[in-house]
């Protein structure tokens, strides 16, 4: 039973990294729990889509029925705006006696009675109708308003003026930046996708990352691992595997959305997004990608460090919660970030490491993050991310052996220098 390993290879580090990534990835996606959690979201989405689909079908059918239904109503017109012909065409009969008209509604002889005041702009239009249920009763108000609108349009007598008065016009806006046409919202959207990716990856993967490093400690496997491979390889391998797991999850989430959008867009009443209006500017896209990568590195490193310090997942949650909350903080100031990006608060959010990724990605999307600021924030995230990752590896190496108690970070850092180990 002797098997001598292949020891001479110069790519042992990469070999081990690949082994760790493969093991961690496969054992995660092999778990039934993973698929239950992952599939739960698209299943819920599918249920919602089905409900929306059914609801829209029902609404459409009801709407068609209401459109075709004839409403028998009486009306009085103190304003003198309503032309008799228009009212008659809509099923109305002019009344001169409000009391009789109301009595007919109460007695069920008439569906509704509309009382138009002398000045509809300042006085209320009174609508009385036979009760047909909460939703069907809305028909009365809709018909009363429609009658008034058609009457007003008839008075104006010009389709152009009617559209202008109703604000029913199309506006094409073109703005310029540095003498070039700016893309507007179409420019903002692509870089903001990195913000969405950042959120999705942190929300989906952070808990797994925290538990992943705690697992070695809770399973008492740390000593076996530390004497078999470099802890940096283990940590980086875990990060890569979780990133791959995240891609699988995103794929699973997006599949029903893509199918729904491609085949059932009309029935689901999804917005018809014109993708041709999107402008893909290389600069903001590159900055967005680097901010995503830097932010992901920083947060991941922090989670690994927490996992190395805390003895159990339960205790790690005490720190984990506030850390996650800090990511959301910039959204409470989103209007300020968009309207006054140079205010002290926004500047603080831009450079404070935990809020920097979200704030900078928002500003990058909306074009208020200049090149200098972008370089500083990206450098800050990568440098801090690398430092925290190194700290995390150090804490894991010298702290994860502390199985049952919380690690003292200062004590670990105060450990003797390498020369004492003979290095």
């Amino acid at each position: 039973m002797t098997t001598t390993p292949t020891r001479a290879s110069s790519f042992l580090g990469r070999h081990n990294l690949g082994t760790v990534v493969g093991f961690e990835f496969i054992r995660t996606i092999k778990k039934r729990r993973f698929w239950i959690a992952t599939l739960a979201i698209p299943v819920v989405m599918a249920i919602i889509f089905t409900l929306v689909f059914a609801s829209n079908s029902s609404t459409r059918a009801t709407s068609e029925a209401q459109k075709n239904a004839t409403l028998s109503f009486t009306y009085t017109d103190a304003s003198g705006i309503i032309p008799d012909a228009v009212a008659t065409a809509m099923g109305g009969h002019k009344s001169t006696d409000p009391d009789t008209a109301l009595a007919d509604v109460k007695a069920g002889r008439s569906d509704a009675y509309f009382a138009y005041p002398a000045n509809p702009a300042t006085e209320h239009v009174k609508v009385y109708g036979a009760d047909k249920g909460i939703f069907a009763d809305n028909t009365y108000e809709a018909v009363a308003k429609q009658l008034l609108t058609i009457a007003a349009q008839a008075r104006i007598g010009s389709p152009v003026l009617t559209a202008a008065a109703g604000g029913n016009v199309t506006v094409d806006t073109q703005t310029f930046r540095n003498g070039q046409v700016a893309g507007g919202f179409g420019t903002a959207l692509p870089p903001l996708m990195f913000l969405v990716l950042f959120y999705v990856s942190i929300i989906l993967l952070s808990s797994q990352m925290l538990n992943s490093t705690l697992e070695e400690k809770e399973n008492r496997v740390t000593e076996m691992i530390l004497t078999t491979l470099n802890p940096t390889t283990l940590i980086v391998g875990k990060i890569i595997s979780l990133f791959l797991v995240g891609l699988v999850q995103i794929g699973v989430f997006l599949t029903p959305v893509a199918i729904g959008y491609a085949f059932f867009r009309d029935r689901l009443a999804l917005p018809d997004v014109d993708l041709t209006s999107l402008v893909f500017e290389p600069g903001p896209l590159l900055v967005g990608a680097l901010l995503l990568l830097g932010g992901f590195t920083l947060f991941t490193a922090m989670l690994v460090a927490i996992g190395a310090i805390m003895p159990t997942a339960k205790e790690a949650g005490v720190i984990f919660g506030p850390l996650m909350a800090l990511i959301f903080v910039p959204f409470y100031a989103i209007s300020l970030i968009l309207s006054d990006p140079h205010s002290a608060v926004v500047q603080a959010f831009t450079y404070f490491p935990l809020s920097a990724p979200v704030t900078a990605m928002l500003r990058n999307g909306f074009g208020t993050l200049n090149t200098t600021e972008a370089i500083i924030v990206i450098a800050e995230l990568f440098i801090l991310g690398t430092l925290v990752l190194r700290l995390a590896v150090h804490l894991f190496r010298y702290g994860s052996i502390q199985y049952s108690s919380k690690l003292s970070v200062t004590k670990t850092l105060r450990r003797t220098p390498p020369e004492l180990t003979g290095k």
Binding site: M1, T2, T3, T4, P5, T6, R7, S9, L12, H15, N16, T19, V20, F23, R27, K31, E215, N219, R220, V221, E223, M224, L226, T227, T228, L229, N230, R397, Y398, I401, Y403, K411, R415, T416, L420, T421, G422, K423
Partner: protein, 309 residues
């Protein structure tokens, strides 16, 4: 203290090792070496510093001071000597299948996937766990998990095998199996460092030993040298009549009509026997025996500690 035998380049060298945890000094100026190919017994009661020394040797702890080398340098995983380490705190990925975990560690130790799988299946068959290859580790009994852990430890054909209380948790049958495997490794040329409280195992397997107490070496050398250091021989007698004290021997154990005598002041068996006879003791039998390591352990730690271990 120096070990006996010819000068051979040590595989493990520890010099002036000191380890502090906060204000507590756990290891005090410890020096010893382990030669290539030998089986080395690392003895001492709980808390004497054995596991701490091993962890520092393997880079899990950073030593406060001293040199701890394996193969002439500080240990780094997968760099230099092939290591098999069975830690005192045992554990593997409990939620994973036995074979998956074994193949994973085999891959990390440099085996190809096919080699790791083939070795694992062969090993599982040998330890009568072939039918558990697809079973999750946490569904196995404690003893079965120990067998898997041992397999993971030796699957890379280690040049240096470090076993921290290897028999802990094993029943007598599995302990026999474990000892057979250790002997095989020894015969295959592995250097073995073994932490254990089982003195009969040490006497049977170990070439040299070190005995730690409170982080310092209390005995070090070949088993025979250590026995010699603690009196080497003792005389077991049966007798009638009173047993008086003497400068030539010390009574280390006594029962009705029998006693163990440790010689003192360079007395040999003839001198002790003459002393007994001239003192009026009716000696019915007189045998010469070596001091057992267990007896030495008891002398160093006291009877209470020995009972506990």
């Amino acid at each position: 203290m120096t070990a006996g035998g010819a000068a051979i380049e040590p595989l493990v060298r520890i010099e002036n090792f000191r380890m502090d945890f906060g204000e507590t000094r756990v290891i005090r100026d410890l020096s010893f070496d382990v030669r290539a190919g030998e089986t080395f017994g690392f003895l001492g009661s709980n808390g004497s510093g054995k596991t701490t020394t091993l962890r520092a040797l393997l880079g899990i702890y950073q030593p406060t001071a001293g040199v701890l080398h394996i193969g002439g340098k500080v240990f780094e995983p997968r760099d230099g000597v092939r290591l098999g380490y069975l830690p005192e705190e045992r554990g593997l990925y409990k939620k994973e299948a036995v074979l998956d975990v074994m193949v994973y560690f085999g891959r990390l130790k440099g085996l190809s996937k096919a080699q790791a799988r083939s070795w694992s299946l062969e090993y599982l068959d040998r330890v009568e766990l072939a039918d558990k290859a697809s079973t999750r580790l946490d569904k196995l009994s404690g003893g079965e998990q120990q067998k898997i852990q041992l397999g993971v430890t030796i699957m890379n054909d280690p040049e240096l095998l470090i076993l921290d209380e290897p028999t802990k948790g094993f029943d007598p049958v599995n302990r026999r199996l474990l000892m057979d495997i250790i002997e095989e490794q020894k015969l295959a040329g592995s250097t073995v460092i073994m932490v254990t409280h089982q003195m009969e195992e040490v006497e049977r397997l170990c070439d040299r030993v070190i005995l730690l107490k409170d982080g310092t070496s209390r005995a070090y050398g070949t088993v025979a040298e250590v026995q010699e250091q603690f009196g080497g021989t003792l005389y077991r007698i049966t007798y009638t009549g009173p047993l008086p004290g003497s400068d030539l021997y010390e009574v280390t154990a006594a029962d009705v009509g029998s006693a163990d005598l440790a010689p003192r002041n360079g007395a040999d068996e003839t001198a002790v026997l003459r002393e007994l006879v001239t003192s009026g003791v009716a000696v019915r039998s007189f045998t010469t025996e070596r001091v057992s390591l267990e007896e030495i352990f008891i002398r160093v730690y006291g009877k209470e500690t020995a009972d506990l271990t």
